[in-house]
Amino acid sequence: MSELTEESVRAEVRAWLEANWNAELGLVEWRNILADSGWGVPAWPKEWYGRNLPAGLVPVVEEEFQKIGAIGVAKAGIRTLAAATILEHGTDLHKEKFLRRILTGEDTWCQLFSEPGSGSDVAGAVTRAEMQGNKWVVNGQKVWTTSAHHAHWGLLLARTDWDKTKHKGLSYFIIDMHQPGVNVQPLKQMNGHASFNQVFMTDAVVEPEFLVANVGDGWAVTTTTLMHERRGADGLRSWAMGSDSKGRAYDEERAEIATTMEPYKWYPQRAGRVDLILERAKETGHFEDPVVRQEIARLLVMSKAAEWTARRARAAAQQGKPQGPEGSLGKLVSSHVARAAARVHTQLSGADALLSGSDSPMNGVIAEILVSVPATSIAGGTDEIQRNIISERVLKMPKEPSIDTTKPFRDVPRNTVR
């Protein structure tokens, strides 16, 4: 076999796309062709819809897709995490049953980890799975579940052994969301949107072959999923942009994006919208107020320094240097920026900050900023957890003495008594 080079890969994928891409195919039909060709997920194993392509060459393939305007496999949402987890820990049966329909977009997925009693402390899950007869029977409640209302499958973390220590008694399952024992309710947030769900499981059933890895290995598998979530956080939540080209496949992709991105439509506001500050200062007539100017300046200093810190981390990574401390601060810094921005927006808006919706400035955008920013310092790891991570991993400070990991989980104090 000849050696792969950027040129050879580029030529091969371009020739294949020229021969096969057709915007008038149905979206699923086209993605099935993609899955068979290996070009949809070229870094995946050859036997599972990929081509074993080195990760460094994947951008070359993506560039060729963009050039010709060809649609790729379904990527947005939790399905990507499901695929990564199944590839790493799943059986051939899991791969056979799930991977293709993930790539075609026919199946959507959700992640059933967080519970009302375990947010930052995910390993404290108390949803229980018990073997009854020849099936797993699940009882418990999950929360903050994006897209659960239309998901076909869920990635479930549940406790299977209460006599083992906290992390050892967990197991990981794939659960069919379309069954009578699973009840999905929207969770309305303080900003009025309902981007997440609560999932109630009452004697819900999981087939024994849908256990992932072994009983008791649930935490290791969960760590894999979470690692992919952190790594891909920007991609998962960034605004997927549909092409405005004409053709059946494009039409179907636009509809898919609208559904997938619906929960994230307020995300720009939760970041604080620093980009609107100067415009608002001028239009509200506060730009010359020396007190407000100082507040605006403080915010701009922080947000610029944050931006340059992220660029410094990227530049170091591109040079192949080991990650410095600047690479671990982004999440914490972005909540500082968001909070400062919300404060300045309040100052600039004055009494208008009392209003909401179409009575609020910028047709409700300002009001939405003010009631969405509190999510930034909580979602995806609270500021407090971020500070723990920074102090322990970057600064090498000792962990707090632990009182919950050495005794049977049954004896660990917790919120829910069962």
Partner: protein
Amino acid sequence: MKFSFSSEQEEFRTNLRRFLAERSPTKEVRRLMETDAGFEPSAWRKLNVELGLSAVRIPEAYGGQGFGFGELGIVLEEMGRALLCAPFFSTAVLASGAILNAGTEAEKQALLPGIASGDTIATLAWVEDPAHWEAAATKMTATQSGNTWKLDGHKSYVLDGHTADLIVVLARAAGTSGDAGLSLFTVKGDARGLERRNLKVMDATRKLARLDFEGVEATLLGEAGGAAAPFARTMVEASVCLANEMAGVAERLREDALAYAQMRMQFGRPIASFQSMKHKHADMLVDVELAKSAAYYAAAALDDGDEDVEAVASLAKAAASEACVQTAVHAIQVHGGIGFTWDNDTHLWFKRAKSSEVLLGDAHHHRELMMQRWAA
């Protein structure tokens, strides 16, 4: 825009850090800060010549090394970390900058080689009482008689003003105001009619002087009446340099506080294991890293001729002023009672943080400058 140091720059930093750690241990800082001069001329000359420090940013045509603000920033950051007692900021940043920005070719040829070689200790005198950092507040008058000029008035807060061999002075033609009529001059440290008094300072590692001028003979530097623009440029550069020095001060404070927290036992465990302490240290890391990013970016902006450089310089100084002082406050707190004692070293850097906070204008001042320059 450059966001990462080259391997040559990293190596330069590593060597410099090792050198300064050897030559400027805290014991030496404490000894020198108690002296009148604040440094030891022979020891400083030796270190300066060995490493070519005051030559770093002077072009090769004037006997320098011809590096940029990126390298000068590294020197300053490492000096801040080591709290080196030397007339470097006065000579290599303020005076050199003013001469490079304002001087004619002949003046640069005459003045810069002595600075580059380490023979001349120089400074820039512009602030008067009551202190304003802008050139427009200058009251000192310059009167021409024939080929010479005479300066009358006073200057204060002059870095190393009592020891400098050469003083660059900002003065104005009588009857002018604002930015008009401003000129720069050079005056010899031992000029007749110049009285120099060492001020009592909070930060003993950075000496300041009050200078009184009575008919002091001065030589014009650059164009008569045209000093406003080159002086403003010098302040922009100095702000960036000070921001880089402060990054080093802040990082040293943070690292020392962390080392202490790891070592100090209370309630049967290192205080570093308490979450209140861990969160404070995470916050300190954020403050310091953001200030470093701004300082590095600003130095690169100077080297690249970025059109936003004036705003970026003020941004970097504002970020550094806040971060450095905040880190110093946290550092004392982390140390607890011992941190408030004279024998503990934290106060040396705390005081440098406080003096740097105010020097060249505090965070409020620079935030306003940034808004005027950027968001107008």
